[in-house]
Symmetry: C2
Subunit: 336 residues, 2 copies
């Protein structure tokens, strides 16, 4: 590097820095955090925790490297009713693959999927569900599966709202992700859903890159096709990232204990316990679905996102219970 | 925020930015990259690749998010002779735990470990090794294991050099990690070693945080002890991150295909293939241990870090073969 070029580089970097600082400050000055949250206790408690986390010298201060926040996905970041979005994918894939599997017309649970009889599908229980997942998630390479998922999300729509599944995310939660990141947090998804089902869209929907998505996995196998190495997805479960599997998944993939956790069901109970058992600060929130009008209202009896034990424990342990109806000004971006 | 405070904040940030830019530029101006590398082909090829990666508008340009670099650990970042450092840990732990296990005095492979007869230990093969690992790596909580590992590294020394194991890292490789990060790469370890053996020291040794360490795992189990949630390490293997397991591990943990890979043995062959099979730019390097004087000299016949197939393929596929003796000016920081 010659001298005048070096000076140019310094000047160039300085100007860039000044522009970055000014444009970075503008929104901070212009906008309160969490605009789609009502001014209730919930919002106040979140902001208080985050402000204490970043206040150097304070008792609640946490170094940036340790500001790990984990979010469940189904029912926490996007809708999980009337059934998990990944189940919608499974149903569509069974239909798409049916011409290659004439035997499915006579074989449960495939038959009922093709007949559109979800009640009958449900009767096949967990065993039937696993069969459906293996038949639709295994047997191709990882690259192929990623492409199938991305393509599906381009057109698939929610059965109740008719909107694209990709617009079924909760605006207040996306604001919360942004707010945490703006305060030096690293945000992760920790979901029972499939890692490779979420990764193709997590960055676009939530600003969460692939390496920050923890979820259930199936086994893959390295193989050479022609002279090209591929990873084949096997129809074998590798890891179920749900319930007690969530703290195990966090430990395995992240290797640090989070200080902030958001969930909405009993499947998030153990990771909420794990997060709030740290010696330092820890914050847990449970999204309670109380809004039949704008979204859904369900808890103890729901087949998807059952919230029973964690509902009782949230009160006992002083976890923030978010009342969707009262705490959220807006739920979906497509609302008027 | 009132107006004068806002202006103060802007000015304060500006000054900080200017200082950061100037101090950030200083070392760039002052120092050539990779100072412990000799001025050979190897260094030139690495620098050329990195410069092309960051050159916006160029054919080799890669966006920062996709600048993923993966490094094997044993024999690539630190010494793996006369045996893996983690095996040194296993041997020491067997000795430390022996008073609790009087039966080990009569039971192989434990007996031979206690007798210090490594040849006899080796005869127990992989089955024996797994037994030793399970007996020393399972049965405690994740927090307890982390503390045991950290404590061990404080005093454990290398059998040949007598130096702490933590000083058995290769200076040229640490410089390479720094150089890549300075150019916007995210650096990962992808090792056959145990994730929870490496994480307690990877940040200190290599600047690689826990969530960027991929390795072999054992199963953990969530449990409540008293009222405190813990993760218990079970004596069961979960995942072996070696050979064809490495691309699978990369896919599982990182979810992106790397563009840079460094290894030193046949255990790294598949991840080198996987990395260089990307459509865009891809760079693979294999560290060849050729320096009996300063470190070790071994390849096709070594029980640890066997380099045979990958040695032949490196030439065929134009992977960079680093000749430790000729390409590295310095290997360890404790050299004169």
């Amino acid at each position: 590097m010659n001298r005048s070029f070096a000076i140019d580089a310094i000047l160039g970097s300085l100007i860039t820095a000044i522009v970055l600082v000014l444009t970075g400050l503008a929104p901070v000055l212009a906008q309160e955090p969490l605009p789609s949250w009502n001014d209730t206790q919930a919002k106040a408690r979140i902001i208080k925790f985050v402000q204490e986390t970043v206040a150097e010298g304070g008792e609640g201060y946490v170094a940036p490297d340790d500001r790990i926040a984990v979010f469940d996905n189904d029912g926490t970041l996007w809708s999980e009713q009337p059934y998990y979005i990944q189940l919608g994918f499974v149903l569509d894939r069974v239909k798409a693959l049916a011409p290659l599997h004439p035997e499915w017309k006579a074989k449960e649970p495939f038959k009922s999927v093709l007949d559109g009889d979800l009640k009958e599908v449900a009767k096949s229980g967990e065993k039937g569900l696993v069969e459906l997942v293996m038949a639709t998630h295994g047997g191709m390479t990882t690259d192929q599966f990623g492409a199938i998922v991305s393509q599906w999300f381009e057109t698939a729509t929610h059965p109740k709202t008719g909107k694209p599944y990709t617009s079924m995310t909760y605006v207040p939660m996306r604001e919360l992700l942004d707010y945490l990141r703006a305060n030096g947090f690293t945000t992760y998804i920790v979901s029972g859903g499939g890692v490779e089902f979420m990764r193709p869209i997590a960055e676009k929907l939530y600003g969460i890159p692939p390496q920050q998505v923890v979820g259930s996995t199936i086994q893959t196998e390295y193989a050479i096709v022609g002279d090209v190495p591929v990873l084949r997805r096997l129809p074998k479960i590798d890891f179920i990232d749900d319930g007690p599997g969530k703290p195990a998944g966090i430990n395995k993939f992240i290797g640090r204990r989070p200080i902030f956790v958001a969930g909405n069901s009993d499947g998030d109970y153990e990771m909420a316990r794990w997060t709030t058992a740290a010696k330092g600060p820890g914050f847990a929130m449970i999204v309670h679905h109380t809004d039949e009008g704008r979204e859904y209202s369900y808890d103890r009896q729901s087949p998807f996102g059952k919230l029973d034990k964690a509902l009782d424990e949230a009160k006992r342990r002083n976890w923030l219970l978010v009342d969707m109806k009262n705490d959220w000004k807006k739920i979906f971006s497509f609302e008027n």
